[in-house]
Symmetry: C2
Subunit: 124 residues, 2 copies
Amino acid sequence: MLDMKQKIKIFKALGNETRFLIFKNVFTGGYACSLDKKDTKVKVSPHATCVSTIAEHFDFALPTISKHLKELREAEIITMEKKGNKIYIEPNIETIRELGGCFSTLVNNFETNRELFFGDVVLS
Amino acid sequence: MLDMKQKIKIFKALGNETRFLIFKNVFTGGYACSLDKKDTKVKVSPHATCVSTIAEHFDFALPTISKHLKELREAEIITMEKKGNKIYIEPNIETIRELGGCFSTLVNNFETNRELFFGDVVLS
DNA sequence: AATCTATTTAGCTAAATGCCTAATTAGCTA
DNA sequence: TAGCTAATTAGGCATTTAGCTAAATAGATT
């Protein structure tokens, strides 16, 4: 279950246009890493991409994209797995599914039970 | 339909602990404005609250809370309606429902169609 | 009209964010 | 081993954000 801190991290991560677009592109698989095809030793999803491939599509320096990816990973909405000297990036569908579930619960229980979405949050 | 800018605004709004908690409290109706009972002229939801009532529950100055509420309103996840000299605040359930729907679509269509959530976003 | 209550605006400061370049680390290849 | 590719870390700078107090606005009440 996502706790409050984690939800806030996710919202903060997606509340920036650059990160939103990076996430969009990772999620839609639009930037699949062209090098994958040559690299037969490494087994990754055909949608997986890597840091430099993402950076090619933005007008920002590589370290900037790297930092944004770190934030998306810490929010647990993407995964980053090192294979060889590259890092393969994929969406973390489980976290997104959970968050979606929270919203559904929230909406479905509106009026009858307004507490569910916020879970562990204790009123001050 | 929520466009990209609007979604980013919502995420940014909820990506701050103070605003998240304000929204939580508005949504759950935990801070209903006690003055409502006396004020028989004004018709509002028994869950509705007002700026100063919210501020009472936080260790921040009133103008700080006012500014946060403005941001939540601009993200269209709460409504603020002036009646008399108070502003009554309620959650905007429609926006939350829409956002939840986006997440459901996103998750349900993962793999088969990764584009739906992002809608109007054009790949650069 | 004068005052009271509710809220916002203005203007300030400290801290966080988002970007950069240069340097470093890690793994692969010749 | 030397050099190449991929990514991160370090350090700096400009902008934004999140808080504050004081002052202004708007509606009620006396």
